[in-house]
Subunit: 423 residues, 2 copies
């Protein structure tokens, strides 16, 4: 293999892991430069060659000697303009930046095509789990039509601990922050943005159609209570933040991120703590599942360096390295609005503790073509009761109409939560 | 991508799946010829182009027009000589033949190297599960040191049914044969040969050292009784046929196939029926698990056609397609004899139903440096008792010596079984 020269933009958690891992591959990959925000910041990297450091990322993207630019800084700016400049300078890109890909993937892949360069991003989705390369290469024969995944370690950790410790969301979030599993501002994780970025890019390559970020439904875990988790357990389910994508024969895609009640015997219900898992369904393969570490310094470095070594194997041998890894998803998938989809639902209500309440709920549901499959009523005190129902498959718009009517019904004091079920 | 020409040797279950799947990729792959044993045999393949069929495989391996030979006939002869001839004719090989690779991989990969051709074999190990390509490409940065896997669907189906139905081995084997999950002569599966072929090749590429088939320990499931499964459950374990491989810092490999008691909460204990699963451990990635269909017409075709499409993407673009997929494992791993390894053991005994039997067992074990961690005694009748013990970590040679002594002890009537535990 030829020895290639790389420049690394960013030396935070992922960048450090990449630097350390590349020390084992000095015969294949030479690190030419590393750009950092503050060159004087103390770093916990053994034998770091400080002569490689620069505060000016432009030096990397404009260095005619560099073959591959490794972007591990994260965020849209200035990553977007730096990567564009690098591509215009005919450099191949390895990135772990899911937000950038979800928001600007189309533009970047088009630019890469025009410049005959490759953008690799194994680390951007599910961290250390091999996913992008298998989907694009060895699973290429498949018509993948469904993805169900746990793509965010932080929320999976929080939901696992809420379940194990029977603890409320706020308490577990605080613990997760103290352990470094959640950020000080946890919005990106707990509101489902991170998982949304990932499922958008994953569905795009799996379906071979562009999925737009603004077309997907997203809902986080902040409204999930320890009571929801307890009730879910009683019905035989675990609550997980699921990123899911389906495409039908007519090219209509249903892509979403939201909490779901997952049957306990389903493999995704058994994925705990910060582990990620991705289930792909398609023909001819059937169903394959990938499980592993979705984040962290060293697992993410495994994927970044895997991409770098794949480029190292082909650069210099061909003018067109890694043809299968090149993207071409100009055709946009058509979108199914969530209101049109059919799901099963968990609905948690506070009601007056009077005879006939279940009848009232049943009547409203019936009126909106909603069948109930499970009902659980618990009197919290003399005056009020908690009622949890699980519906049969129902149209989301019908559920919304029924909930609206329930809100205006005297006997129903409060709608606590609405959570979809995994079928 | 260039359109490549392939010849297919074999049109059985896998070959049929490959033929059907390739119909979707006529723009990339042309099937030039298919060799079959009997050209007149009726086949259940829609729109089969019978003009492609020949009974002479030599026509395929010697056809100067063919770029890739797809060998899906199985067995060593005549597959070995045909593939050698094809490689000598500078053809790339795609094969699903695990036995051939385990027995003659070294020779074949050397020949391919000399002829600048690639041998791909994603389908040979774990059927439809992406494994070989991920290990060789995107996981390349890793030092993989441990594999734990369920690689044989037939035995996993039998063990699952024995557990679910509380049924004896012979009854379940018969059912599996009727359902087509086991062959008329089930030896290859139930004695662990099939799993051994697979782990040998998988460990070779994962460890980057050649593992020889004759150096590994192999034991099948024919001695597992429904009682063993019941006792294992009482202790919190499932019994699975596990293919496992470890390599230490000094390059000593411990590779084996045998039944194991797997803790119920371990992911491999939850893999049921014909599903396969492979857990890889290494640095920097940590632990990744691949789960999916390990056999069958269409899942296997997914992997075979995935290999073909990967070649199609690079043939014609470079003189050296798929550099990362080329094998070079001339260095043989050193071997640890199973007698030297330390394991935990499940030992099932029939004893006289007299006071002091447990004491006798404990004394023998103690003499051989074996600590017991769990003991279960059940009196089957007035005169005899069943005793099951689980040991702490002990050296296999010590266990063998203890069992020998037990055999010569009057109070111990019979040693029913010895099964290792997964740590």
């Amino acid at each position: 293999m030829a020895k290639i020269k790389v420049g690394i933009i960013g030396l935070g958690t992922v960048g450090s892991g990449v630097y350390k891992t590349l020390q084992n591959f000095k015969d294949l990959v030479e690190i030419k430069k590393i750009s950092v925000r503050n060159i004087n910041k103390p770093r916990n990297i053994e034998n770091l060659d400080e002569s490689l450091l620069t505060e000016n990322s432009e030096e990397i993207v404009n260095d005619s000697d560099i073959d591959v630019v490794v972007e591990v800084m994260g965020g849209v700016n200035p990553a977007l303009s730096l990567i564009k400049q690098a591509i215009n300078n005919k450099k191949h890109i390895v990135t772990a930046n899911k937000e950038l890909l979800a928001k600007h993937g189309e533009e970047l892949f088009q630019l890469a095509k025009e410049n005959n360069t490759v953008i690799l991003y194994e680390a951007a989705i599910a961290g250390g789990i091999p996913l992008i390369m298998p989907v694009k290469t060895i699973l290429r024969a498949n018509n993948i039509t469904k993805i169900d995944a746990i793509l965010n370690g932080t929320t999976n950790y929080i939901l696992t601990k809420m379940d194990e410790d029977n603890a409320p969301y706020e308490k577990v979030l605080k613990e997760a922050q103290e352990l470094g599993y959640a950020e000080t501002d946890p919005t990106g994780d707990v509101e489902g943005f991170d998982a949304a970025y990932k499922i958008v890019t994953l569905a795009t390559i799996a379906f071979n159609k562009r999925i737009k970020l603004n077309g997907i439904y997203r809902e986080g875990i902040t409204k999930i209570t320890d009571k929801d988790i307890k009730f879910a357990n009683e019905f035989g389910y675990k609550i997980k933040l699921i990123a899911t994508a389906k495409i039908d024969e007519n090219g209509y895609a249903d892509v979403r991120v939201h909490p779901m009640l997952v049957p306990k015997e389903h493999v995704l219900a058994t994925i705990n703590n910060v582990t990620n898992a991705v289930m792909l369904s398609g023909k001819p393969v059937g169903e394959v599942i990938f499980t592993g570490p979705g984040a962290g310094e060293m697992p993410t470095a495994s994927s970044v360096v895997g991409d770098i070594l794949s480029l190292a194997a082909e650069i210099g041998k061909t003018d067109y390295p890694l043809p299968m890894m090149r993207c071409n998803h100009n055709e946009e998938a058509k979108r199914i609005d969530i209101g049109e989809t059919k799901n099963r639902y968990y609905i948690s209500l506070n009601t007056e503790n009077i005879p006939g309440t279940i009848g009232i709920i049943g009547t409203i549901c019936g009126k909106h073509k909603i069948n109930l499959s499970d009902i659980l009523q618990k009197s919290s005190n003399k005056n009020t009761a908690e009622v949890v129902v699980i519906t049969a498959l129902s149209k989301e718009d019908d559920i919304k109409a029924a909930l609206k009517e329930m809100k205006n019904t005297k006997a129903i004091l409060k709608i606590n939560n609405l959570i979809r079920l995994m079928n």
